[in-house]
């Protein structure tokens, strides 16, 4: 996969998630995001990458 494809995929995923969050609404968005993360963990199947991603996401959030 070229770096251009990766950037395209990232943009597409960004928009898909934004759309889904808007459709689901604030009351259920926490649950949606938790389900999404678990589904991605299942697809990744790699604890080390999940741990790195958790560290990345936690940064500046305390």
């Amino acid at each position: 996969m070229s770096s251009g494809d990766r950037a395209d995929d990232l943009e597409a995923a960004y928009e898909l998630i934004a759309h889904a969050l808007d459709e689901i609404g604030p009351a259920r968005e926490r649950l949606f995001l938790a389900k999404l993360v678990l589904a991605l963990v299942h697809e990744t199947g790699d604890l080390a990458r999940v741990e790195a991603a958790i560290a990345m996401a936690r940064r500046r959030l305390g």
Binding site: R30, L31, A34, K35, V37, L38, A39, H42
Partner: protein, 563 residues
């Protein structure tokens, strides 16, 4: 001292009278082992000792057995242990005759199935994976077996109020309706439960984690025809936000456990009308329409707490006195039976001069390791059954939602039912060979099917005695009688048990037929394969070929004496 007389819709509580002990008649008596607490674990300890011919005295402050179903679930390994108890046996049979066996269950999210539990079982196993039996029956059967053994002196209505020990022995001060006396013993087993007086008298503290979630556990009498299975509901319509469990027990008694939420007033939730209301909504949800009565209830909180050491000089802590483990996965009493099984032979050998003091230390090392593994497993179950924080609650909801449509999240919902612990790192294990199948050093022997006696199937543990067992697979080869005899010279008590193509009469050993080859397959055995099992049925070592020098070294290690 006794509480007001217990009553129940299904169980007649026996009354055990106080009998004046010899000490109060001015006789000088010394006991090998005194057991404080006549609950299921204390009585199992007494029967373990009786198995080796060692007498004990049991000090119990009540005048009857425990009220309510309490522990309920007896796991397969516990049935293997109970099968071996006492000089006369028969305890496992009584449990099995009365109890209700079960092999699986379902977990629901709201009202949809998200997990199906199916525990391995079949005709090649002596006992089923799980048996439901109220604790009052368990204690009654154990107390009756103890009395019948002639080796157990149960002293009802007696309470220990002080304990002292030195290099020569331990002294318990025992309060009774006829006054106090001093009881002297070589060793003391503290089996006096979650609120152990022995622990308090000795100034010992439990360490670990306590969980906030509270459950109300209740027994109801209801003539339901629903099959025997474990059912768990997460966030059910009957009790939104709560977790509910239902188990069937003998005598049309059903156990209903439900979580009391943090924002609910615990005092109001303990009122009987409120308990009835919450149980009724649950029964309405599952479609039960028959009348029911409330028999017993109690509150429960999950803990992962244990003593730092289960041995303090001459005092050994067992069961809830040593460790409090969460209810989920049914490890409480099952781990207590495993404690009794582990301590019994070591204490018996110490009393009989067959084992060294270091052997007694191995009790704490092995059972503490088992407790920590339980904490690891049951801690996970507890955090799923009763999420302790917002984060855990959200992740559980996400997992349950996904499990409605997918298989992959379902392992998160697995109730992780009690499994036997392997003492893989025990100092009592000896080096041997690698095997593709069968129990590794530290693991319990598999109670596999061996043969047939009349119309009854027989299993390996039916042939095991109270000694160590040298299990040799001869196959079609001649039985190496001389080498087997050489293995057993000068060592601790050990009996050779040979598995051969045909049963034979041989002096000093038992030779069993393995007609179907199932036993050899279970143990990954070829002709020459030899397992050494401890008196508690755990494997100490295994080899591809029989070598008397190696067997004798492994047996010597089991005495705890330095080589």
């Amino acid at each position: 001292m006794p509480e007001p007389a217990k009553s129940s819709l299904y169980f007649d509580y026996p009354h055990f009278p106080f009998v004046t002990p010899p000490e109060l008649r001015g006789e000088a008596v010394r006991h090998g082992v005194a057991i404080v607490g006549g609950g299921p674990v204390g009585l199992a300890c007494a029967l373990e000792l009786a198995r080796f011919g060692v007498a004990s005295v049991v000090i119990e402050d009540d005048d009857t057995v425990a009220d309510g179903s309490r522990a309920v679930c007896v796991a397969r390994r516990s049935m293997d242990i109970l099968q071996q108890l006492g000089p006369g046996g028969g305890v496992a049979e009584r449990f099995a005759d009365k109890g209700l066996p079960w092999t699986g269950g379902r977990s629901f999210y709201r009202d949809q199935v998200v997990f199906e539990l199916d525990m391995p079982h079949g005709p090649d196993e002596r006992h089923g994976p799980m048996l439901n039996l109220q604790q009052c029956y368990m204690e009654l059967y154990l107390a009756e077996a103890a009395a019948a053994s002639g080796l157990v002196d149960i002293r009802w209505q007696s309470r220990v109020s002080a304990v002292a020990q030195d290099g020569a022995g331990a002294t318990l001060t025992v309060d009774t309706p006829d006054g106090a006396y001093e009881l002297i013993a070589d060793y003391v087993v503290a089996a006096d439960g979650a609120r152990s007086a022995m622990r308090q008298l000795m100034g010992l503290r439990l360490n670990g984690t306590s969980y906030e979630g509270t459950y109300l556990i209740a027994d109801i009498k209801m003539a339901s025809t629903h099959p025997i299975e474990r059912r768990a509901w997460f966030d059910p319509p009957s009790n939104p936000g709560s977790t509910v469990l239902m188990h069937k027990q003998p005598d049309d008694i059903w156990r209903v456990d439900y979580q009391i939420l943090d924002d609910q007033d615990a005092e109001a939730e303990m009122r009987e009308d409120r308990i009835r209301e919450r149980i009724q909504t649950q029964l309405d949800m599952v479609g039960e329409t028959v009348a029911w009565e409330l028999d017993w209830y109690s509150l429960y909180k999950a803990h992962c707490l244990c003593l730092d050491d289960y041995r303090h000089g001459r005092v050994f802590f067992v069961g809830d006195a040593a460790h409090l483990v969460p209810i989920f996965g049914v490890r409480g009493l099952n781990s207590g039976f495993a404690d009794a099984n582990n301590l019994g032979w070591k204490l018996a050998w110490a009393v009989q001069g067959k084992g060294d003091d270091a052997l007694l230390d191995s009790y704490s090392a092995e059972r503490r390791a088992a407790t920590l593994e339980i904490f690891r497993q049951a801690g996970k179950s507890t955090r799923f059954m009763t999420p302790p924080s917002r984060g855990y609650a959200l992740m559980r909801e996400a997992a349950l939602e996904l499990a409605l449509d997918h298989d992959w999240p379902r392992p998160l919902i697995d109730p992780r039912q009690s499994a036997p612990y392997d003492y893989a790192d025990s100092t009592l294990n000896s080096p041997g060979d690698d095997f593709a199948a069968g129990p590794a050093p530290g693991a319990p022997l598999a109670n596999a099917r061996q043969g047939q006696l009349g119309n009854r199937a027989t299993f390996l543990l039916d042939h095991l005695g109270p000694d160590c067992t040298l299990l040799h697979f001869a196959g079609a080869d001649p039985v190496p009688a001389e080498t087997l005899a050489a293995c057993l010279v000068d060592g601790p008590p050990c009996r050779a048990l040979v598995v051969a193509a045909t049963a034979q009469d041989m002096t000093g050993m038992t030779v069993l037929a393995d007609a179907t080859g199932k036993l050899a397959a279970t143990y990954g055995a070829e002709p020459g394969t030899t397992y050494l099992a401890r008196p508690d049925g755990h494997v100490a070592a295994r080899w591809r070929q029989l070598d008397a020098t190696q067997v004798r070294a492994a047996l010597a290690r089991l005495t705890g004496r330095s080589p």
